[in-house]
């Protein structure tokens, strides 16, 4: 079927994007995502695309804004500090209804933080990716393969919604090497370029204009339509993995790298007879509310939020769905310190073995 390769997460992201139709990338160096721009710099010219090393993250996201306005599948990537700089441009993408893909290979924060992996950008990704109260769909794959699958289809969501899509991973997933199966190249034709785009290659012969500024009544309508779109996402686009929930008395909620460590711990605890399961959000926005809300709280005695950041950032989203029907616990490492098998095992064990 697909082509199998052994790839670094970051490189797999770039190759999957190219196969998904990405033909423009602009970015600025920042660890731990540098393999993404490096890969695009030679790969895009091979397929007739364009790569630009921007003078800043701000310039890079605005280059993407320009390319996206032409209907080109465009992308930028960065890590926490750089995503903060891109916040302006991401907000403008949402305002101008332009599809684009932004990848955050996150690291310890706040500020310059550390260059080691962390999951400290959950709140930024899901609550306020920029000013003005908008959301992007946020995907959080937990393997190179899942990242490939997400990137391959990311523009389909972005173009459907005319809205940016964020892929949130961490420096660990970006840098480990794994086997991936690559899908075939999507062949996109000029005449299929979006009708609203400013290119003339799609045969458009009327004046086209795209703007991120509106008069107040029009803007109110746009805000309301965005609200409806977010509700539609919640109904139709939630992606979640539910693991060993049938008989679970304790449910771990973890995404990305944390979910992989947690799954190991859960399997070990199961061997000891503890009934632990896991809910893994693959989309962080829309958040898999129903999975948590509809747990059998006659059986579930506790929900455990495991994240590679302290304090936990997803906890409020979990608590809102648990609605005080059982305790919510949290465990994490932070600042670039990695979650490890023993630490996560011990943390869950302490809770499920009767200790509080």
């Amino acid at each position: 079927m697909g082509e199998k390769r052994f790839m670094k997460g970051n490189e797999a992201i770039a190759e999957a994007a190219v196969r998904g139709g990405c033909r423009f990338f602009a970015g600025y160096p920042i660890t731990p995502q540098n393999e993404i721009p490096e890969y695009f710099s030679w790969r895009l010219p091979e397929v007739g695309g364009a790569y630009v090393q921007g003078e800043s993250e701000i310039a890079s996201v605005n280059m993407v804004y320009g390319a996206a306005a032409m209907g080109t599948r465009a992308m930028t990537s960065s890590s926490g500090p750089g995503i903060s700089l891109k916040a302006e441009g991401i907000s403008y993408l949402a305002a101008a209804a332009l599809p684009a893909v932004i990848v955050n290979i996150s690291r310890g924060g706040p500020g310059l933080g550390s260059i080691q992996p962390a999951q400290s950008d959950y709140l930024q990704a899901t609550k306020a990716l920029g000013h003005g109260g908008f959301h992007a769909m946020v995907f959080a794959p937990n393997s190179a393969q899942e990242a490939v699958d997400v990137l391959y289809d990311a523009w389909d969501y972005a173009e459907r919604d005319r809205n940016p899509v964020l892929v949130l991973m961490d420096g660990c997933l970006g840098n480990i090497m794994e086997e991936v199966e690559l899908p075939p190249m999507k062949e996109l034709k000029d005449e299929d370029l979006p009708e609203w785009s400013l290119t003339r290659r799609n045969g458009r012969d009327w004046q086209g204009n795209i703007t991120p500024i509106y008069t107040e009544l029009i803007l109110e309508g746009i805000n309301a339509a965005a609200g409806d779109m977010y509700k539609d996402w919640e109904e139709n686009d939630v992606k979640v993995e539910e693991f060993m929930l049938e008989d679970a008395e304790y449910v771990v909620v973890a995404y990305g790298i944390a979910s992989r460590v947690a799954k190991e711990a859960i399997l070990n605890l199961r061997e000891k007879g503890f009934k632990v399961g896991m809910i893994r959000p693959i989309t962080l926005f829309p958040f898999p509310k129903k999975s948590i809300k509809n747990l059998d709280y006659g059986k579930v005695k506790g929900v455990i939020d495991i994240e590679m950041t302290i304090p936990a950032q997803m906890r409020d989203d979990i608590t809102l769905q648990v609605m005080e029907r059982c305790p919510v616990y949290e465990y994490g490492r932070s600042g670039g310190c990695l979650l490890d098998d023993e630490g996560v095992y011990e943390a869950i064990y302490e809770i499920v073995s009767g200790g509080e």
Binding site: R23, F24, A26, A50, V52, G54, E55, S56, I58, A59, S60, N62, M63, V64, Y65, G66, A67, A68, A69, M70, T72, A74, E88, G89, Y92, A96, L198, T199, R200, R201, D205, Q207, G208, N209, I210, T211, P212, I213
Partner: protein
């Protein structure tokens, strides 16, 4: 005699610019040249933030409105993916020489094949007349009420001079729009810049010295005199770089 008629690239509506503002004239010059070159449908106006953003209301051709200072970055994304389009950014002095300094210098340095039209009226017109990077020494603004003092605010930025030090740009010129000769020269300069872009030569930059009767607190005629006695001696009109001439 040439027939005087409305440009089809400018909407048939009253201008939103203040009476006597040279932005209207600058926009008109750009649209005239684009029509003359037969590029109306092929042109793409990257509209910046400031009074220049009023073009959203009047520009009849394709346009993309972008964030403050980022027009050269957005234009880069446009031109790299659609090199056949005639792309230009129309930016004011706050947009280009303050918040967008990195974007303009870097786009110029990469030799991006588009044109930047730079309207320099030495003030932030849209926000009510604050000090711009190009405000003249001693010039009064709402944030320099005793006049711009170089001891705390530095000196007016000379963008043509700065950009012409870079290797990549092929045409860098400044014109003053306060006289018929200046207007005619500007028209020729804009045409040359667009022609060089159409030939794929590289980055072209045309600065137009304009005015702001409202925030300079002058009548339109007084602003034209002020430009002669104050603006032009500091921001000297001329062609700062023209590689096509040098090679000839």
């Amino acid at each position: 005699m040439a027939e005087y008629k409305r440009s089809t690239l400018i909407a048939d509506a009253p201008s939103g610019y203040c009476p006597g503002c040279l932005h209207s004239l600058a926009t008109r010059l750009v649209s005239d040249v684009i029509e003359e070159l037969g590029q109306g449908d092929n042109s793409l106006n990257v509209i910046s933030v400031g009074c220049s953003a009023l073009n959203i209301l009047y520009w009849n051709g394709d346009f993309l409105s972008v964030a403050h200072g980022r027009a050269p970055a957005a234009a880069t994304g446009i031109k790299r993916t659609n090199p056949e389009r005639l792309v230009f950014a129309y930016q004011g002095d706050g947009d280009l020489a303050a918040i967008g300094l990195a974007e303009i210098m870097s786009a110029a340095n990469r030799g991006e094949n588009f044109t930047v039209i730079f309207a320099n009226n030495q003030t932030y017109g849209m926000t009510g007349g604050q000090m711009a990077p190009t405000t003249l020494i001693g010039q009064k603004t709402t944030t320099t009420i005793y006049g711009r003092d170089p001891a705390t605010t530095g000196y007016p930025m000379k963008m043509c001079e700065l950009i012409s030090t870079l290797e990549a740009p092929v045409y860098v010129a400044r014109f003053a729009l306060n006289s018929p000769k200046g207007v005619n020269d500007a028209r020729k300069g804009i045409k040359k810049a667009f022609q060089l872009q159409m030939q794929g030569k590289g980055f072209t930059f045309v600065e137009l010295l304009t005015n702001c009767p409202t925030n300079w607190h002058m009548t339109p005629l007084q602003t034209l005199d002020y430009m002669n006695t104050n603006t032009i001696p500091y921001f000297k009109p001329g062609v700062y770089k023209d590689t096509e001439v040098d090679e000839a």
